[in-house]
Amino acid sequence: MSLDRVISGETAAGQRPCWSCQAPLSVRAAFCHACGRIQPPAALDHFRRLNLAPRFDLPTADLEQQYFGLQRSLHPDRFAGKSSREKALSLQHATALNEAYDVLRQPLRRGEYLLELRGRPLNGADGGTIDDEELLTQAMAMRERLADAAGEAEVLALIASAEADAAAILAEIEGAFAQEDLASAARLLTRLRYLAKLTAEARARVAGAGSGVQA
């Protein structure tokens, strides 16, 4: 837990005045306790933003409960009749909540983000070089299978096997993070990233190659 606090930089519990009534508030207060007005969002990491401890094995139910609960009180729809300042602040809050939720709900992005928080950002998938021999061999084999796949059934089978691989890797990543083995977590996340990319390509092919996409 102490580690969590260090990561989120929460040690300096600063105060600031309410923009409307000047009452002293914690920087993390979303609303003024005196006048009830919405306050500017604090600079928080995505986990803190959603009142969650930074961990990889994040239960979806917890994430959603926090996200929906906070959006319920902070979303611009709650401020339709309010001043433009309050509207603007609500927009900032809702934007930050959406960004946090978007990153944390996807295991791959959540893992990457967690590495970033711990000071070990993953290399870019497109830019950085991959020195994982096993991954490179596996990737080439799967790419060939996708290229050779004759019908929808074959592509679907490929997707299913990629998803099974991804599930197994996820379990390993959980273990790595639990043991603070960040090097293994990074290596496994790179594999997961690759599998996700391949699955997306395969899915697009099944769906008719982006026919829903037309400007």
Binding site: A80, N98, A215
Partner: protein, 636 residues
């Protein structure tokens, strides 16, 4: 008070009853073919109807050099005789430029002004030059007037629905139209989301739902998760240029081909094209319920007959329906879902009445679609619910997404995506770009919307230039471009040079939108045309007054009809009917005359009620209780 049926004001003398509780806001479905306005109270939405009980207002406007525009049913009637004065399906042109229109060339029964290369297009109608925004504003004014008549109070705020697939330009155009019509837009809500809201709140649905929305001119498919009052859009997609109108076009083309084969060729006038389309539409609607039929076309003074059965009709439209199914599959894939995971499919839009559409949707999802809320009304009802939630509080939460990716042109005409489609809104993303020439001091930022790889294949939203970049070697400058999309789906772009902190923000005004000057000019014209508007206002006032009198009289008759002899009652009822008829038409003098006639017929009744009331009071009923009873009877 009921007794006020004695007093009848001259129209124009009574101010419109001002909103006592300013909370009221209506929901508006501004459709391609029909538009509706609805109001929700206590989470019970209702479509507001005209005096004749019609909920749908045809999105048709007839223009005349000398008179204010006619909207709706009347304009549709003009369509038959003088189609060149009439604009329909204007929604398809919202936010469009001349270049877009070329893609629809020959399929639009309008005359487009030729010089509109880089501006919003203009239509030539009855000697006027009109933008689609102005035409839409006329439809919105008519809806506003209908709401005011129906509610007997002023209405100035609305939630307006737009197709989920509407791009930034079309959304901005819709907002501008509302502003011209004197409506404050509380929120633009995506049509499928509104439909889901109507269904979800109606039955407390939970789980994954798909909304298949085939309107007159647009197709949308959205997948939502409904859970404990949260409506979370997972993915959305569609086709902004595919709708039921296209079915009409295919039928019309077939009929015209048949004519040609029979030796009846020749060019069609704009008016004849509109008539052919109208006939085709009637045929389409007929084939929704019958297996075949025969229709007549009259072009160039020559009549021809055309048979079409349901198999022939379905063969014509099958490729279009297949396109919607392919899009639906792509959207499901985007959401990472298989069709079987969807718990219910909601049908929206009149075109979903076509049996082939229902069959194909059922086949894709493996279940019969839900259509028990009228597909023509469901969007307006959802919009009204959201309007109530925005004004009166309420616990529902709509979490929507961007329908199209937003990006920037990079070298070689490629697109770098900044915000991907199906990102939850509001959203903000920043991306860094750099200079590609030594000593480069300015950078053109070209904002595009769409999914294609090449700029030319996407929609150009705006261009602006970031100037004053300090000269550096190529690749050294760090230009951070931030895209922010608000809860209405509207985009703001700002750019900052990071090494110096030089910053420029622009609100993206779509290339084909109205600029502020044009908007102001239009608002000014609207004021100069106060004469025309005054006529409309007087008409609204007359209707409001008539409605008030009718309601009061209904209540009085319910309480005291016994004070009238049978022939007296018959006269009053006949004159009430005449007044209702007059209210359905557009002539305020007719309404005033009918009101006066009704006033005369009820004078004795009012006097007798007064006497009766006094006698009752003398019998021991306190006058103040009488007054309060009469008050309670008065529903206005």
């Amino acid at each position: 008070m009921s007794l006020q049926i004695l007093e009848i004001f001259e129209p124009g003398e009574t101010p419109l009853p001002h909103a006592e509780a300013p909370g009221i806001a209506v929901g508006i479905d501004l459709g391609t073919t029909n538009s509706l306005v609805a109001l929700s109270r206590d989470a019970k939405p209702e479509v507001l109807r005209d005096a004749a009980g019609r909920g749908m207002l045809p999105s048709v406007v007839a223009y005349d050099a000398a008179r204010p525009p006619q909207v709706g049913e009347e304009a549709r009637r003009v369509l038959l005789d003088e189609p060149e004065r009439v604009v329909s399906s204007v929604k398809r042109l919202m936010g469009r430029g001349a270049r877009d229109i070329k893609a629809l060339a020959g399929r639009l029964p309008y005359e487009i002004e030729p010089d509109a290369a880089e501006r919003m297009i203009r239509l030539k109608v009855a000697g006027k030059s009109l933008t689609p925004v102005e035409v839409s504003a006329d439809i919105l004014r008519a809806l506003k007037a209908r709401a005011e008549t129906s509610l007997a109070r002023e209405v100035t705020r609305a939630v307006i629905t737009v197709p989920a697939y509407f791009d930034d330009a079309a959304r901005t155009a819709t907002r501008d139209a509302a502003r011209l019509a004197g409506l404050e837009v509380l929120r633009l809500v995506n049509e499928p989301t509104a439909a889901a809201l109507a269904y979800g709140l109606d039955r407390g649905a939970e789980g994954l739902y798909a909304v298949y929305d085939l309107g007159g001119g647009t197709f949308d498919i959205s997948v939502l998760r409904l859970e404990k009052g949260v409506f979370q859009v997972l993915a959305t997609g569609g086709d902004a240029a595919l709708g039921g109108d296209d079915f009409d076009h295919l039928i019309a083309q077939q009929f015209l081909r048949q004519r040609e084969e029979d030796g009846g060729g020749g060019d069609l006038s704009v008016g004849e094209a509109k008539q052919a389309l109208l006939t085709a539409r009637i045929a389409k609607e007929c084939l929704t319920e019958h297996t075949d039929g025969e229709w007549m076309l009259e072009v160039g003074g020559r009549q021809s007959r055309h048979r079409l059965d349901i198999a022939g009709f379905e063969a014509l439209i099958a490729p279009l329906v297949a396109r919607t199914i392919t899009t639906a599959k792509a959207v499901l894939a985007d959401a990472g879902l298989a069709p079987g995971e969807v718990k219910g499919v909601v049908l929206v839009g009149g075109s979903t009445r076509v049996p082939l559409v229902r069959r194909e949707v059922a086949a894709l999802f493996g279940r019969a679609p839900l259509a028990d809320i009228d597909p023509d009304e469901v969007v307006a009802l959802g919009a009204a619910l959201q309007a109530e939630a925005l004004t009166g509080g309420g616990d529902t939460l709509l979490l929507d997404v961007t329908p199209l990716s937003l990006g920037i042109e990079t070298m070689g005409g490629l697109v770098e995506k900044v915000i991907a489609r199906n990102t939850a809104i509001p959203a903000a993303r920043a991306q860094e770009f750099t200079t590609y020439q030594d000593g480069q001091t300015a950078m053109m930022i070209h904002v595009v919307q769409g999914e294609r790889e090449l700029v030319a294949q996407n929609r150009s939203l705006a261009r602006f230039e970031l100037q004053g970049i300090p000269p550096m070697v190529a690749g050294a400058a760090r230009i951070r471009v931030t895209f922010a999309v608000d809860a209405d789906g509207l985009l703001t772009v700002s750019a900052e040079e990071r090494t110096t902190g030089l910053s420029q923000a622009v609100v993206v005004k779509p290339s084909y939108g109205l600029d502020e000057e044009e908007m102001i000019a239009m608002l000014r014209t609207a004021m100069e045309n106060a004469g025309e508007d005054m006529v409309l206002r007087l008409l609204t006032e007359a209707r409001v007054e008539a409605e008030r009198v009718l309601l009061a009289l209904d209540a009085a008759l319910k309480a005291d009809a016994g004070l009238l002899a049978a022939p007296e009652l018959a006269t009053i009822e006949r004159r009430m009917a005449l007044l209702r008829q007059a209210m359905a038409a557009e002539d305020r003098h007719a309404i005033t005359a009918a009101l006066e006639a009704l006033d005369q017929a009820t004078q004795d009744f009012a006097a007798r009620r007064m006497d009766h009331g006094i006698r009752q009071a003398l019998k021991g009923v306190a006058l103040d209780r009488l007054a309060s009873r009469l008050e309670a009877e008065d529903p206005s």
